[in-house]
């Protein structure tokens, strides 16, 4: 099998006493759209900057096309980046910004203009070529930044939270534009973000980082349904995490004693637990039914009073009181609940199937 386009091999970054990245391994294949996500300070931006050569790894090896690039200066690699600040050259016209990379590669003025104009047309900015950056709107600047990075036809494009400065509406539109662009071009995208929904919406694979370590790599679906650990389960949100103690096995499911009563969960794969072990259960909020129990299999049941109802467009989240400071979240499509009126304090019956739970070691 051919070597992936980009390989991070036990790459670490220390700043004096502080370690920003702890020996991470990551492979990115040609044409993939990988999102690296995590909370701020998790090392995701440092990782991206090491790929671009803006930071030198303290340990490990970065290979691009099978070649070690650790020692290459930023300008000796073809790893253009779309910056969080956009970093467009303010005293240059749109066209000159886009031409910059070609100029640095000593291409002729004619080729430069043709290629840059081609990209501006593609991004719907041809009419703005002569304008100054300051005369553009946020979304237009964003497109200029992408065109500037792609004009040299790189094999990989690095994106460092490029949409964080945009308002929500524009962000969603740019998300789909970027995703479409990536599909059309077939270029590898490595996209850093702290925003879970952004990563899930765009990437074919996500790597979740925390504390300088990669916690899990997988498709958005895998990560969402089978988080590798408690951090991932919490970070991707939309999950209920319940601590408990393993009590035994009734043949078709394991029994766990929790604050919500005894729950039944599928036996975990790949790791064995014995009675008395502390474990955590992940219950996806969108898999919980209310009112009537779903059919088939082992069913868990919870009676709790409603604290509040949160309405976000097509999705409604119900917060149920499960004692202490904790809430149990149930997520429903708005249309499923159209006929139901909720009042805070009212008792709600929640049901979910054993197989909709996922078992993690407690930590």
């Amino acid at each position: 099998m051919a070597e992936p386009l980009l390989v991070l091999d036990k790459v670490a970054k220390h700043y004096g006493e502080i370690t920003a990245v702890h020996g991470i391994d990551l492979e990115i294949a040609r044409g993939e759209f990988v999102a690296i996500m995590g909370p701020s300070g998790c090392g995701k931006t440092t990782t991206l900057r090491m790929i671009a050569g803006l930071e030198a790894p303290s340990e490990g090896e970065i290979r691009l096309n099978g070649e070690r690039v650790n020692e290459r200066k930023p300008w000796q690699r073809d790893t253009p980046m779309v910056w969080q600040s956009l970093a467009l050259f303010p005293y240059m016209s749109v066209l000159r910004n886009v031409e910059f990379g070609l100029k640095m590669r000593n291409q002729s003025a004619k080729t430069r203009r043709e290629k840059a104009m081609g990209w501006l047309e593609r991004m719907g900015l041809a009419a703005h070529a002569g304008r100054n950056i300051t005369q553009l709107s946020g979304g237009e600047r964003q497109r200029v930044a992408i065109a500037r990075a792609l004009v040299t036809e790189p094999e990989i494009l690095l994106l460092d939270e490029p949409l964080s400065a945009l308002d929500a509406h524009l962000r969603i539109r740019m998300q789909s534009e970027i995703t479409q662009l990536q599909r059309q071009l077939g270029i590898t995208f490595a996209y850093v973000t702290h925003n879970q929904s952004e990563a899930f919406a765009m990437a074919s694979r996500v790597a979740i980082m925390n504390g300088g370590r990669i916690q899990q790599v997988g498709s958005p679906r895998e990560v969402y349904r089978t988080p590798a650990n408690r951090f991932v389960a919490e970070f991707i949100g939309a999950n209920n995490i319940v601590d408990g103690t393993l009590r035994g096995n009734d043949g078709e499911a394991i029994l766990i004693e929790t604050g919500l009563g005894q729950l039944r969960a599928p036996a975990p794969i790949g790791r064995s637990y014995s009675p008395g072990d502390k474990i955590a259960l992940v219950i996806s909020a969108d898999r919980v039914a209310i009112g009537a129990a779903p059919k088939g299999g082992a069913i868990n049941h919870l009676e709790a009073s409603l604290i509040s109802e949160e309405f976000i467009g097509s999705v409604v989240t119900l917060h149920l009181d499960i004692g202490g400071e904790r809430v149990f979240r149930v997520q429903k499509q708005a249309h499923e609940l159209d006929a139901t009126a909720f009042t805070p304090g009212q008792k709600i019956s929640a049901f979910w199937r054993a197989e909709d739970m996922f078992v993690l070691p407690a930590d």
């Binding site: 300008w75 970093a87 005293y91 300051t134």
Partner: protein, 269 residues
């Protein structure tokens, strides 16, 4: 209400009087430089450019202008270059003792020029560099560089540090990024620094007096003329010096006011 108005009027009058004290002698000197009479008395005599002709026919004044021009030009170039380098160091690097380094670099203009002139004289004579045009240049660069550095540093502080990295990222080597990104961004401040340092050097008397030896710059020549005799030629030289200095300072100021990011300063092809 009326008290407010009264106070406002008094403040305005105060400003007018203060500016009057500064500018009236200059204006008077300017007027008398074109007066045909030998002594500055009223009523004025006829309009005449004889004093200007006199200073330029007298050998020493044109020589002094030439010296000032060489010194001012060299000082402007050198101190702007060094000032840029120092400002860039501040912008780009973090190192131990940087705050000490920066305050030392900004120190010279805060030292009384008399002290600076004397110590420069002692130092330059120790290393056998005294009494030449380049002695004045060296001493003036020490004095002027901080002005250039301060201007350029201010400009660079408005720059997104990612701009330089973005240039590297797009294939520009350190040098090309410097010339293609940093310098164009700092250009208004660099040009402004050129004019300002030229003006400071052109006006500076004390240091030039100490280290210049027989190489008189214009201010040194003016003082030597005054010591000899009071002549309307002083008015002519003074008016010229004022006009040149003001032009330099105004150009520097104008360039700096154009520093709003985003507006191209020079159209580059």
């Amino acid at each position: 209400m009326t008290v407010d108005r009264l106070i406002r009027r008094m403040l305005r009058a105060y400003v007018v009087i203060a500016l009057g004290f500064v500018f009236v002698p200059i204006v008077i000197s300017f007027i008398f430089s074109f007066n045909s009479d030998r002594f500055p008395t009223l009523p004025l005599g006829s309009f005449s450019t004889e004093w200007y002709e006199a200073i330029f026919s007298e050998g020493q004044v044109p020589v002094a202008f030439r010296t000032s021009l060489i010194v001012g030009g060299a000082v402007a170039l050198l101190s702007t270059f060094i000032g840029f380098a120092a400002a860039y160091t501040d912008f780009r690097y973090r190192f131990f003792g940087k705050s000490v380094y920066m305050s030392l670099a900004l120190l010279p203009p805060t030292i009384p020029v008399l002290i600076l002139g004397l110590t420069m004289l002692m130092f330059l004579s120790r290393v056998s560099l005294v009494g030449e045009i380049h002695s004045v240049v060296i001493a003036h660069v020490v004095f002027c560089m901080p002005f250039a550095m301060a201007l350029i540093r201010l400009r660079l502080s408005q720059m997104d540090p990612d701009l330089e990295r973005a240039a590297w990222n797009l294939g520009a080597s350190s040098w090309r990024a410097m010339l293609g990104v940093i310098v164009p961004f700092a250009l208004p401040a660099i040009l402004s620094a050129l004019f300002l340092t030229a003006a400071v050097s052109f006006d500076e008397f004390m240091i030039a007096f100490f280290v210049g030896g027989v190489n008189e710059t214009v201010p040194v020549r003016v003082l030597n003329m005054m010591q000899g005799q009071v002549s309307p030629r002083i008015n002519a030289v003074g008016s010229l010096v004022f006009a040149i200095s003001m032009t330099l300072v105004i150009v520097a100021q104008f360039l700096l006011m154009m520093r709003r990011p985003g507006r191209p300063m020079l159209r580059r092809t």
